[in-house]
């Protein structure tokens, strides 16, 4: 069943609980290995940590985001894009404060008559001094199938 447009639009402004998240050494090691890169120097974290660290840092999860977006089926989530800003490099073993919210939802139709919801959330990371470190905005496409218009 397709969630109502009213429900989906009502998600805009939904703030995640927020919280703190540290990139552990072991975690960064495995993450970097997955990218096929050699390990980084001087405690630097691989920049792609900016996908999952913010999500987990605000005390949500990919599964919870799927639930919020009423995603039911395999193949119904598409990743449209990212906008990632780095004000400082990410590092291991630093406790980052994470805050964020759902910033945009829009119901759209494809030329083939299929409906999807554009689902955008943005999360900021701050260091222990309260200085901004990075901002991650993710653009997802929640496919709803074909409907009569």
């Amino acid at each position: 069943m397709i969630p109502s447009e009213e429900y989906m639009l009502g998600l805009v402004g939904h703030k995640f609980p927020g919280g703190n998240r540290t990139i552990d050494r072991w975690e960064n090691y495995l993450l970097t290995d997955c990218t096929t890169s050699p390990q980084l120097e001087d405690g630097l974290a691989h920049p792609i940590a900016l996908f999952h660290i913010p999500i987990q840092g605000v005390q949500t999860s990919i599964a919870e985001l799927f639930d919020l977006g009423r995603v039911k089926e395999t193949g119904s989530v598409g990743l449209d894009g990212y906008d990632w800003e780095f004000f400082k490099p990410l590092r291991e073993e630093i406790e980052y404060r994470c805050e964020g919210e759902i910033v945009e939802v829009e119901r759209r139709f494809t030329d083939a008559g299929k409906i999807y919801d554009r689902f955008v959330f943005s999360i900021e990371l701050f260091d222990e001094d309260g200085e901004p470190v990075a901002k991650a905005t993710s653009y997802w496409r929640l496919r709803r199938g074909k409907v009569e218009r």
Partner: protein
């Protein structure tokens, strides 16, 4: 290293996308989406026997290219859109070229067109802003 508008970034190549790394990645991300590890379950999407690489891993190949070029802390911004799936076993290459230089800030910044391709097909493309720490 001299960098000018039009300079090409040395490519980063992936000989074969490793499905085992997708499983580790799924665990790290706490990603329950089965398209990354359930090859048989992907039949209804027309890719039976194949699994789909995670978006962050696709982007990581471009990140690795940029870090090899200008250092491990060179990236200031990444704006990308995903235009196709990367599947297990794919042969990929990440590419980039400088489209403008900005000398108005404390550091020299290059705006670069970036993309990831398989057999000439772009699967990810966008823009990176990179500090020219090696230049």
């Amino acid at each position: 290293m001299n960098v000018d508008v039009g300079s090409k970034i040395p490519p980063f190549n992936i000989a074969s996308v490793d499905t085992e790394k997708m499983k580790t990645m799924a665990a790290l991300l706490r990603d329950p989406y089965p398209i990354h590890w359930d090859a048989e379950g992907n039949e209804k999407m027309g890719i039976k026997g194949k699994v789909v690489n995670q978006g962050p891993l696709n982007l990581s190949y471009i990140v690795n290219m940029l870090m090899n070029w200008q250092g491990q802390d060179c990236i200031r911004r990444l704006q990308v859109r995903f235009t196709g799936w990367v599947l297990g076993g794919d042969v990929l290459s990440a590419h980039g070229k400088v489209v403008s230089l900005d000398t108005t800030t404390d550091e020299l910044l290059a705006t670069c067109e970036i993309w990831l391709e398989r057999d000439g097909e772009r699967l990810l493309e966008g823009v990176a802003i990179v500090a020219l720490t090696n230049s």
